[in-house]
Amino acid sequence: MMIMALFITGCSKILDKKPIGEIDASTIDDPNAGGSITATEAEQLLSGAYNDMYWAGEEYWAFDRTTNGDAMADNAYAGSDNPANHAIDLFTTNSLNGNVERNWRRLYTSIGKLNETIDKVSKATDAAVPPERRNQILGEAKALRAINYFELVRLWGDVPLILQPIVTTNTKTIFESVAIPRASASVVYDSIIVDLEYALTRVRNVNEVPLKQIISKGIVNTMLAKVYATLEPHDWDKVNQYCDAVIADGYTLLPDYDFLFDGQHKNSSESIWEITYGGWGSGTYGLWIKDMYIGGGWPKFNTPSHDLVRAFEAEGDDVRFHSSIQWVDYSGQWVDPYWPMNNLPLINKVRGGDVSNFIIYRFADIVLLKAEALTELNQLDDASGAQFYLNKIRNRAGLANTTATTQADLRLAIEKERQLELAFEGYRWFDLKRTGRALEVMRNAKKANNEPLSYPIQEFRLLFPVPQNEIDRNPRLTQSPGY
């Protein structure tokens, strides 16, 4: 009996084990007891959500966005020898495509974590987290959520809209809370706008945030301008209004286009949203995408297209051509289907190693969007109208003023300008979709000898298929039409 007694007293020590090195949420998350997270935990949750997106999500934000935005469009070929990338480039993708699946998962993983953060922080008591800071945190988190949804809705159209954390009471609640059907794109856009408008009045100005990777008013205004230019029907007044707001935030174009990519001008005045990588060994994270684009060895990704090279050459756009593309002699290292190996073009916009920053949105995009809005609003002049803003971009690149004067010509001129200015930055495909020109442009893509590339593109391929594995996890999810 004595032994038994001795042992049983020792038992609670044996049986009550707490994680070591991870945080047991019961200490910070006790809804039944009306508990609250602390101010420190609120900050840690927010920075956790940021860093999950920027570090675990680097593959999407810094790399796959270029595959989707440029290789799927006519700026680049898939390069490499990954079948998933080739399928995206050649419009043969299906619901088992690995890239498509990882893109979906990445975006929703961020949203799930942001929903957790928003839920926790909004339930924090005033005493723990002062209302002003709490509102800032919520504004940043909601803006990030909106940004993720913007990517989703552009790639898949209708997508499940989920704004609350999972309810893990039992199997039923688990599935009911997260296994929901696709919401129509317009509903998703409404939600995006609600989140962005919430954020706009609460987040800090760009000069108040420590780094440009923190959500600022400038980023939110940029997002709103882009959202209104994308949703159907486009609302050009709103685009114009939010572009003005960005301009008023004080961003400027850098004097030299190459400063954007030379690694010497981090968090510059042109940069709106820029991720800072501290590098390997810093305890944070390093940018690894350079090796995907340059350096001998294995085939490189997203190799520039003949169409893009021809566009640079036709425009006489040497400045941006040289900043965007470098020519290498990699004879004998692999065989490229489009280019000779002794004169092979590769992306030149990612030059730095692991401590490089990566710009997601920059001011030139907004300037061109402003030009586009003014074109659509029929304010075409070169004093304060569309031509004025278009020329700002052209002049910085050392090009003469545009010769386009009519609305129709300006539309095409701006499209071309965006192609050259923003090449390999993940814009082209979404611009073409937005303007309804994707099918036409892709069907006109040409090889080196000007023979058509004959992409087998059909209208349904403007949207990605929903990953089969996600449909398997959520039977209420329907496949995109056509797949």
């Binding site: 009550d16 998350d29 956790g48 299906n94 619901s95 499940p160 929901i180 294995w298 692999w334 999810l477």
Partner: protein, 1090 residues
């Protein structure tokens, strides 16, 4: 001599005490509190007593408690219950007892040592006190032998010195019985001393079977237990103890996932019960439960018992659902010290080779696929490296073991030292293991036995990447897919690359990076066994399992592309795992006439703490790399990243068992175990696991005496419930965040599941044991059905939740089957001996349910850039393959034709279906052992029938979609419209012909001559002159012949068989994706005993 022995036995005491110091204080107190009980009392004393209305027996007790006298009497004497009044003051024993026994039938005799025998005065025969020593082989005293007066309930048991004392009538017959020995009857014939020497039983039925927390005679076993003994594994180059079970135990499937040195085995006892938790059995090494037996030297093993059904395994409760393998290591025996030497050395090569295209054939293929003259004649002429030959070489295996065994009556010892060295067929991979063991038993006093089993192992290995696509650095697939035109090195000394793909040759994987592991493990126990009274024993055991792990990897900064890009990377992980076990058990055995009863009760705890810490860095030069890992870590240009954490679990359990048999004819066993585990939430952490089983030995019935030539017929049946918590994470029930140590960021990593609990497997077993034809044929057959509830499912949840998975007890699984073992003694005479053992197991597995939603399905088994090959869904067995159905090659286009199952006129993922199953219809093994004069020949076949293999390697070796080299299978490819073939055309960058489909599904059935051993025992006359007691020389062939239709390297393969994610490991069975090939080995060995 005597002095010597004494001093030796004393020498052990201080060290034992030192060991005891680390045990719980309570344990020490137990030992101390009992130590005075046995103090002998010789002095005569005076008795003072005043008692009213007290039973005479109680009065005797009272006198006995004074400590001067010990009493022996038969409880059945009725007068002992008579109540009397007594008052004596300072009386002698004679006075007291005369008063006490007045007016009764009782009288007494005073014997030596103040032993008082109380008897009936009216009995005709005078009882005598009989003492004696019971010995066994080599005149060693036997402790715990039951000594019974025939046809009475009077009985006792021998102590540690083999001594007993009993009161019996002058003409009584004493029956001596001991497990594993023949019963012996001796007439007392008025003697006071009756010694007995028991002979070990030759009968299989009397064989001792180790069961949980004890042992049992085979004839009394009521559960399903298979055993593998030392002779089954002798003379075979066995490196992992689990290999010893393969093909030897009916219903136990052992798969060696690859031929890589030191690879872990996949062991499934009667199928898999779980989806996401563990499916491996619990191993118990000399009483210490563990999940890893890679450090155990198989040559040290005496027996292995495989507890297959719920009733035999139930004593391990919450960890028993997957069956239990009890491993008992050798103990010292015999009085003479024996020095044993075992040594073998051998060579290994792959069991099979695959032919790949030569330079010319490759040129034709690629120029066809690229529709261009990509590979010129000059390129073909420039290099001609046969990459498979370059990569697959001859491996070397060697093993040396020295053992010292023997002892005295009091002290037994077994020491061994072993060294094993296995150099792989793919060069940098090796596995070396040094092991040391000391098993000591010290019979300290007649009532106390101290034992310890200590083992130490040091295992060092170097890994090479297999089970991966060649573009992910898998060396096996790279060996097959690197064209002969690729040079070994570029002119600058870097690894040569395929100029059409940019991928490096296999030397990149072999020389470009290195990965080393070193594990030091101490596994041992200390125990004290105390005989409280005849039949009642208390045992206290303390076990320790400590592993110190160390591993590092270096990516060369120069040789490979990736290495140059990263400028080298290096990492080192150190880990420590400490598992403590305490165990307190009481066992009681009682034999009363034909009634045999035993009971076990106990209390045990186990705790574990694992803490790894790692450091990673990058950017260093070749000079730095050459100076080794420690130098790199302090001289790299990157600031090293460090990380560390710890994880713990604990288990507290109570155990109980009752066995009862009547005349070994009617048998009953009941087990109960209650476990409380730290892996589950507080209100949900205790589980109770009961089991019952019964047996009927029909052959012992009187009506069976006339049945000719059946020596044994036993029916067995059992029911029980077991649990499984292996593979469930230590904190899976908690919602958890990871906190970045540098930034403090919180990231959600796990959702809470407050109702997480163990898996519960309920099983029934019915069995038959039959021995007939003069014991020449023995058949054991078992039928079983297992249902597992609350199967842990790492449920894939929509990523809209933020995470991919949540751990839920959502599934139900069923396994049912039939298995049998037939042993025959075909020839038995002076020169010849031929025995055959044959076993076979049929298991049917089915996932009954995967939670509330019928659409739930869980994929696993990733094939690079193609998706998953395996899928679990309710209604299908675990290990089912899922993909397209390929129906052939279109003669017009040369493309693979897939079945359009959803009839939507195109091939899309909706056309996929279940296409096969990795689980076999049955598995079997057969051993023939022939002895002819001094020769022994053992031929062991083993096989698996009806299982399929998804040969994912063929996607890379027959895909023809890029510039990889291919196997010669593609020589039959489609080339022109109208060609009728089963190999599609070569087409660049198009993977439509290499979807996961039935095209790559193959019959994985095989029959294998697993081992053939011929040994010669040297003539003893010659040996005696050399002071050698035994010597034998043997040659063994391992995996000599394999009969299979499988086209890959070897049908015994499982790329995901050792996956760290148990979800993947359980679901993705039977996939071959470039596993290190199995080896065929030829060994020559020598065993000598001095």
């Amino acid at each position: 001599m005597k002095k010597n022995r004494a001093s030796r036995s004393h020498a052990i005491v201080p060290s034992v005490i030192k060991l005891l110091m680390v045990m719980k204080l309570s344990f020490l107190m137990i030992i101390l509190s009992f130590s005075h009980l046995q103090a002998k009392v010789y002095s005569q004393g005076n008795i003072t007593l005043t008692l009213q209305k007290t039973a005479i027996a109680k009065v005797i007790n009272k006198i006995e408690k004074e400590g001067q006298f010990r009493f022996l009497y038969n409880y059945d004497l009725t007068d002992l219950k008579k109540k009397i009044d007594i008052k004596v003051v300072d009386a002698s024993l004679d006075e007291t007892l005369t008063t006490l026994f007045s007016n009764t039938d009782l009288t007494y005799k005073l014997l030596a040592n103040n032993l008082v025998v109380v008897l009936s005065a009216t009995m005709q025969n005078q009882p005598v006190r009989v003492t004696g020593i019971v010995t066994g082989v080599n005149a060693e005293p036997l402790a715990g032998v039951t000594v019974q007066v025939k046809n009475t309930t009077t009985g006792t048991a021998t102590d540690n010195t083999g001594a007993y004392s009993i009161t019996a009538e002058e003409n009584a017959v004493l029956v001596f019985s001991y497990i594993g020995y023949n019963d012996m009857e001796i007439e007392v014939q008025g003697r006071n001393v009756v010694n007995a020497q028991l002979t070990p039983s030759e009968k299989q039925l009397d064989q001792i079977i180790v069961i949980g927390y004890g042992s049992q005679s085979k004839k009394n076993i009521t559960g399903a237990v298979s055993t593998v003994s030392v002779k089954d594994i002798a003379d075979r180059p066995i490196i992992n103890a689990a290999q010893a079970i393969q093909g030897k135990a009916a219903g136990v499937q052992v798969v060696q996932p690859s031929g890589k040195p030191g690879v872990g085995m996949t062991v499934r006892i009667r199928g898999a019960n779980s989806i996401s938790a563990g499916n491996d059995p619990l191993y118990v090494v000399d009483g210490v439960p563990t999940t890893d037996i890679s450090s155990i030297n198989p040559t040290d093993i005496e027996t292995m018992s495989i507890l297959k059904d719920a009733s035999s395994a139930a004593i391990y409760g919450a960890r028993a659902a997957n069956g239990v393998v009890l491993i008992t290591t050798k103990k010292g025996s015999g009085k003479k010290m024996k020095l044993g030497l075992n040594a073998y050395v051998g060579f290994s090569k792959p069991t099979n080779t695959l032919d790949v295209l030569n330079g010319k054939q490759y040129q034709a293929l690629i120029n066809e696929a690229y529709n261009d003259n990509i590979i010129t004649d000059a390129v073909v002429a420039a290099n001609n490296v046969n990459w498979p030959d370059e990569v697959f070489r001859t491996g070397v295996e060697q093993n040396y073991q020295l053992s010292l065994s023997g002892g005295t009556n009091k002290f037994k010892q077994y020491f061994s030292f072993g060294y094993m060295d296995q150099t792989g067929m793919i060069k940098p991979a090796y596995f070396k293991r040094f092991t040391g063991r000391a098993n000591l038993t010290h019979k300290t006093t007649s009532w106390l036995t101290l034992s310890t089993n200590l083992s130490f192992s040091n295992a060092v290995s170097r890994d090479v990447t297999d089970n991966a696509s060649s573009s992910r650095g898998g060396v096996v697939l790279s060996a097959l897919t690197t064209p002969f035109t690729v040079p070994k090195y570029a002119p600058d000394g870097t690894i040569g690359i395929n100029p059409n793909s940019g991928w490096e040759n296999p030397l990149g994987a072999i020389e470009g990076s290195e990965s080393h592991t070193r594990n030091n493990r101490f596994l041992g126990n200390f125990s004290a066994e105390i005989r409280l009274m005849p039949g009642l024993t208390f045992k206290s055991l303390l076990g320790l399992d400590y592993t110190n792990g160390y591993n590092y990897n270096i990516l060369d900064p120069f040789l490979t592309i990736y290495g140059r890009q990263q400028e080298g990377t290096a990492g080192r992980t150190k880990s420590k795992e400490t598992v403590w076990l305490t165990e307190q058990t009481l066992t009681y055995t009682k034999r009363s006439g034909l009634h045999n009863f035993s009971a076990l009760a106990g209390f045990t705890t186990q705790t574990s703490r694992y803490d790894p810490s790692s450091i990673n860095t990058g950017k260093f030069g070749r000079d730095t790399a050459a100076k080794g890992i420690d130098y790199i870590l302090s001289h790299s240009r990157n600031k090293p990243d460090t990380s560390g954490y710890a994880t713990e679990w604990g288990l507290v359990s109570g155990i109980a068992r009752i066995t009862y048999d009547y005349d070994s004819r009617y048998l009953f066993t009941g087990n109960l175990r209650a476990d409380a585990s730290s892996k589950f939430p507080k209100n949900n952490r205790t589980g109770v696991f009961p089991s019952f089983s019964a047996g009927w030995r029909i052959s012992s019935e009187s009506f069976f005496e006339n049945v000719n030539n059946i020596q044994e017929l036993k029916l067995r049946a059992g029911w029980g419930m077991n649990g499984n918590q292996e593979g469930i994470g230590n904190y899976d029930y908690m919602k958890r965040y990871y906190k970045n140590p540098v930034t403090g960021d919180l990231t959600l990593v796990n959702f809470a599941n407050p109702s997480l609990t163990w898996e519960k497997t309920t099983s029934v077993n019915a069995g038959l044991d039959l021995t007939f034809l003069d014991s020449r044929i023995t058949i054991t057959a078992d039928w079983y059905q297992k249902k597992t509830k609350d199967v842990l499912v790492r449920m894939p949840i929509p990523t809209t939740s933020g995470l991919n998975f949540i751990s839920l007890n959502a599934g139900d699984m069923e396994n049912k089957g039939f298995e049998f073992n037939i042993s025959t003694k075909n020839i038995r005479n002076d020169h010849w001996d031929w025995n055959t053992d044959f076993n076979m197991g049929f298991n049917r597995n089915k996932v009954l349910n995967l939670g509330d939603d019928p659409n739930v399905q869980i994929p696993a088994g990733d094939i690079y850039q193609r998706g998953n090959a395996s899928l679990v869904k309710a209604g299908y067995p675990l290990g089912a393959f899922y993909g397209y159905v390929a129906t052939g090659i279109d003669p017009q286009t040369g493309n693979v034709v897939y079945e359009d199952r959803d009839k939507n006129e195109e091939i899309n993922p909706g056309d996929r279906t279940f296409i096969g199953n990795a689980q076999p219809d049955f598995i079997y093994g057969m051993t023939n052992a022939v002895r002819f004069k001094n020769f022994d020949l053992s031929v062991f076949f083993q096989g698996s029938q009806g299982n399929q293999i998804f040969n994912g390697a063929r996607i890379e070796t027959e895909g023809m979609y890029d510039s990889r080299n291919q196997t010669t299978a593609v020589l039959n490819r489609w080339k022109n419209p109208g060609d009728i073939t089963d190999v599609p055309k070569a087409i660049r960058n198009d993977v439509a012909n290499t979807y996961i489909s039935s095209r790559f599904l193959e019959d994985g059935s095989y029959l294998r001559l697993k081992a053939v051993t011929l040994s010669y025992r040297f003539n003893s006359g010659f040996l005696r002159r050399m002071a050698i007691s035994n010597a034998s020389l043997y040659v063994t062939g391992q995996n000599v012949l394999t009969f299979t239709k499988y086209t890959g390297f070897d049908p015994e393969v499982s790329t995901y068989g050792n996956d760290g994610n148990s979800n993947v490991k359980n679901i993705a069975q039977g996939i071959d994706y470039g596993a290190y090939p199995q080896s065929k080995a030829f060994i020559i060995g020598l065993n000598v005993t001095f």
